[in-house]
Structures are given as C-alpha cells and as structure tokens.
C-alpha cells in the first residue's frame, strides 16, 4: 500500500511491443540528463517568485534546443508547459517527449475551433506515471490543422498525423476529436464515430458554426 513500485519502472518505461518504435536505441544516451532533474525539481518554491519556474523552463528549453524554430513556447507556468508545434513536427516532438522527457501517457486531447484563423487546434496533455519528477507536470502540445468551411470529415484538408503509435492512450480521444471537430488523424487504425449517432449528418458539433438551437 505505498510507493513501492516507482523505482523499478524508471529504467524500463513502457516500451511495448510496438513496431513503430524502432528508432529508440540511440535515444537513451540523450535521456541521461534526466537523472539530474530531482535536484532541480522543486516547483513549489518557484511559485512565489515572479520569474519562470526553473524546472518547467528546463523542460521547455530541452524541446526548443532539440527542435529549434519548429516549436514555440506558448507559456511556462508552475507545473504546466505549453508548446506550439507545426503539423509536420508534432509526431517527432511527441516521440521526443516520450523517449527523452519520459512522458508516458496522454491525459486528454482537446480540439478547439478557431474560425477566424481558419484553423483547428488540437491540444494534447501529456503526463507521466513512471517518472516521479514529472508527477505534477502536464505538457501541453498544441498543433493546428487547416479548417474547411464546408467540412467533409475525413475527406478534406483537415488532417493531422495521429499520435496513436507513440501514445497508445490517445486512441479514443482522437476518435472523439475526429467526430466532434472533423479532424482526421492519419495513421489512426480506427477512425470511426464514437459518441455521436451513426447517422449524424450535420456539421461536427464542436465547431463554432454549429449553433445550439435557441441560443
């Protein structure tokens, strides 16, 4: 009934039998700096100070260092780091987050519609069970897909690469985003409806131009 099980999994984090993971062997060498995190991982005292919390800043810097201009930091708050990634790099950044930064599952996948930008944002909230230094942390990876005025879900330009081969846990979340916002995830094995009825023929309901009746 206690934290007996944290240690054994730091070195063997969930490296399931997934064929997509063939690139991992050289990554553990990069992962070594993660060991020095515990010393720096005191987000609580950083709260009082006006400057950015150090540990969270470190996570953001690692991503920026690796991917450079392809990513931008949208915010660094206590326990929360927000990264904006382009459509083409989201897969690589997610893989880096899993293999090097030790995030191991996805808490939530939220789609947000921005009709004025003609874009739909998909936000992944990554979190970690196995790395004790990350237990408070949530990494937000946001990426944007092109938005069509007259959507044909699955058959228009609103597409993003799926993260299902990196984080298995996004499976149902991505299905939900597909039906609710019409973002098709390329590489997802099962892009079917989940919550909506099979005969739903209207706009994807969480888009802003779908209006609730009487509102």
């Amino acid at each position: 009934m206690s934290s007996d099980s944290d240690k054994e999994t730091i070195e063997k984090k969930p490296e399931e039998s997934k064929p997509a993971e063939t690139k991992t062997p050289e990554k553990p060498a990069v992962a070594k700096p993660a060991e020095e995190k515990p010393a720096a991982s005191k987000p609580a005292p950083a709260k009082e100070e006006p400057e950015l919390p150090a540990f969270e800043k470190g996570i953001a810097d690692k991503i920026i260092e690796k991917f450079g201009e392809k990513t931008t930091i949208s915010f660094v708050k206590p326990d929360r780091v927000g990264i904006k990634v382009g459509r083409d790099d989201i897969h690589d950044v997610a893989e880096f987050a899993r293999d090097t930064l030790n995030y191991d599952h996805v808490d939530s996948v939220a789609g947000v519609d921005y009709p004025t930008d003609k874009e739909i944002e998909v936000v992944y909230h990554l979190s970690s069970y196995t790395d004790p230094t990350l237990s408070r942390q949530v990494l937000e990876l946001a990426t944007r897909a092109q938005r069509e005025e007259d959507p044909i879900p699955g058959n228009d330009a609103t597409k993003l690469p799926s993260l299902r081969d990196i984080f298995y846990s996004v499976e149902f979340h991505e299905r939900e985003v597909f039906e609710m916002l019409g973002v098709y995830f390329e590489g997802h094995p099962d892009n079917r409806r989940l919550l909506l009825p099979e005969d739903w023929a209207d706009l994807p309901p969480l888009r802003k131009d779908f209006r609730n009746k009487g509102r």
């Binding site: 984090k13 915010f75 808490d107």
Partner: protein, 378 residues
C-alpha cells in the same frame, strides 16, 4: 486470460460459423447506458468493441453558451452521485482564469464535500457491482449506508444529489450549525459499517473465486493505456492526484493511497473500498484542521470575464483523475471547456481485459472498471 501481447486496436474480426456476435446493451441492465459488441467463440470472448454515446448530451458545447457561474449546474450532471468532484477541476480552472483567491475555510469545506461525494459514489457503484455479481446483500448494504452521507450532504447543500455546491469563488453556502459534530458521528459510524463489508463481500470465497485472476491488467498495459484511478492503482502504479499534485488543502491532510499489484477484478473492486476508509480519515482530519469561522466565498463581479489563455486542472475523483481544460478569450462565456473524464479514459482498457475471458465474467470485469457511462459520454 488477457496477455500483454494482444494485438492492438479494436478492429472487428470477420465472423465465421464458430464466432457469434452479441450486442450487450444499450438496454441490457448489465451494461449501463452503453453497448458492448462482443464476439464469442463458444464461451470465450474473442473480440470486444465498446460503443458509448447513448447518453451523450453535449455538455462541452453547452458550456460555451453560459457564463462561468451558470455552467455549474449542468456540468455536474454527468455524474450526479459524484457531482462535487466533477465540478472541482472546472471550478479550480475558472478561479485561475478569473483570478480569484478563495478563503481557507472554503478549501476545507470543499475537501470534506468532495470526500463525502467520493464515498457516496463508491457506495452506489459497489451496490451495482454487488448485484451484478448476484450478491444481493452487497446491493442492500451500500445503498442503505449511503443514505447516511446523503443526509449529511443534504444538510450541507440542501440537495440529496446534484448539489451545485462548488462555485467559482468558493462554495455556495456555509455549513449549518453544529455540522461538525453530526458529520463526525455519521462518518465514524459509516466507517464502522463499511469495515463489515469485508466479512460479507471482500473475504467471501465466492466473490474471490469469481473475480480473482479475471481481467488482468498488467502494470505496463495500465500505463500504456493511460488508465487512471482505481484501475491504475490496482495494477500497481502509485498515482493519486491528491498526493502527487495536491490541490486546495490536500497537502496538509493525513492520508495514504491504496495500491494493489494483482491488477485483476478483485483488486479493482477492493481499491475503492479501501479508498472510502481513507476518505473517512481525510474528513476527520479536515474537520479538525478547518478554521472554525470565516468567509466561504469571494464575491464575484457580475458576469466576470476570464483572462485570455488556457488552464488545465485535474483532481482525483471517485473514479480517477478528472481534468478540465478551459480556453478563455476575455468573454463572459468560456471559449472552450473540455472535460477529460476518468470513465472515458478507462474505457480503452475494456477490450484488453475482456478478450480471452469467459462471457460469464463480463459483468465482473466491466463493472470493476469503475465505469460510469453517463460520465464517459458527457
């Protein structure tokens, strides 16, 4: 027996003459408001495809039309038995966006209400779990003992379920006079009662033989699938948001998290019961440490506007980590509200647990997931 090397995905196999496809639900009482499409070969499940969505109400869409306070009554509807907990992350996130600092007494009362709700939910779930395993005593006892705490919540909030008690800025009203004494007495009696469940249910050889080694979720799979709450902790991962990322005053309270290693239905059904005892401990501790007087809410401006930006908050509900993501664009209504609910996150584990099991074990595995269909559909 589920093995960790199952092929991923939910694809339905081509039926042949050996395989029969069964629709369990949505009207079947054993499945809640959802459908589980199972394919069986003789007595064994070879494929399983959960089909939720029969009680989808578009809570997230509705939240885009109402201001931060008016969102409270409808956002708690997905789990009316755990209504304080499903509101908790929303309220925390809204407070950060509105820039509110809530009084100390309100934080303690929130923790008490949230723990009482966790027990109420767990008792309801335990009653259902009992009756679907054919154990009618385990239906009667939790359903009856739950009334004790519902009476407490009624004294506190005025409603038996659907309390709408947490609002951005604190809680709706202060505790009634001498609530502390009544609460302490009821909780102590409640704890004595639930300890008796061990004799009739948890140490019962019939229950053990039906649930042990059925639907085994390994530690690796539990992490990979992103499960949460009792499902995760039954598979040996010590992760409880109350401990790992304490919100409000949980870091000042004395409690432990319960972890079991076997990952089978028995462990998944035992963890919530052990959690209820920890809840009683938290309530007693909070009653003691709570400031005895003071304000319980900060006054909001009419139609407050959230700061531009986004907030993701999470808490531990009766079923697991519950997250709320709010995007605000400086309007009266939130731009987007996303609830990341534990039932939805745990659903992905169902095919992994059921494939290879006997059909007769389906209720014990399915209900051990601590799954609440209405919450998953939102």
């Amino acid at each position: 027996m589920s093995s960790p090397t199952l092929p991923p995905g939910l694809a339905i196999q081509k039926a042949d003459e050996r395989i029969m496809t069964l629709n369990v639900g949505p009207q079947h009482p054993g499945s809640g408001h959802m459908r589980i499409i199972v394919q069986i070969d003789g007595d064994y499940i070879v494929a399983c495809d959960p089909d939720p969505g029969y009680v989808h109400r578009g809570e997230e869409k509705m939240a885009e039309y109402r201001n931060y306070t008016l969102n409270v009554p409808h956002l708690e509807r997905p789990v009316i038995h755990d209504s304080c907990n499903i509101l908790y992350p929303y309220v925390l996130a809204a407070e950060e966006l509105l820039g509110l600092e809530i009084p100390e007494r309100a934080k303690y009362i929130r923790v008490i209400a949230s723990e009482l709700n966790r027990c109420i939910y767990t008792q309801y779930w335990l009653a259902i779990y009992g009756i679907f395993l054919g154990h009618s005593t385990m239906f009667m006892w939790p359903a009856g003992d739950r009334e004790l705490l519902i009476d407490l919540m009624e004294k506190m909030t005025g409603a038996r379920v659907t309390h709408s008690y947490f609002i951005p800025g604190g809680i709706r009203n202060d505790l009634p006079a001498n609530f502390e004494d009544v609460c302490l007495r009821q909780v102590n009696y409640f704890e004595k009662r639930i300890k008796e469940y061990a004799d009739v249910f948890y140490n019962n050889p019939i229950l053990i033989s039906r649930t042990e080694n059925t639907g085994v979720l390994t530690r690796e799979n539990a992490i990979k699938l992103g499960t949460t709450g009792s499902v995760l902790r039954a598979s040996g991962v010590d992760y409880d948001v109350r401990k790992k990322e304490p919100y409000d005053v949980y870091d000042e309270l004395d409690f432990e998290t319960n972890v079991m290693k076997s990952g089978d239905s028995y462990a998944r059904s035992r963890i919530p019961w052990l959690d209820m005892m920890e809840s009683c401990r938290i309530i007693r501790d909070a009653l003691q440490k709570m400031p005895k007087s003071g304000s319980v809410r900060v006054k909001l401006k009419p139609n407050p506007k959230g700061e531009i930006g986004s907030v993701y908050k999470r808490i531990e509900s009766g079923r697991g980590a519950l997250g709320c993501y709010i995007v605000s664009d400086k309007k009266v209504e939130p731009y987007r509200v996303k609830l990341s609910v534990p039932s939805f996150r745990n659903l992905i584990a169902l095919p992994h647990l059921l494939i290879g099991e006997k059909l007769g074990n389906m209720p014990s595995v399915y209900w051990s997931l601590n799954y609440w269909p209405v919450e998953a559909d939102r």
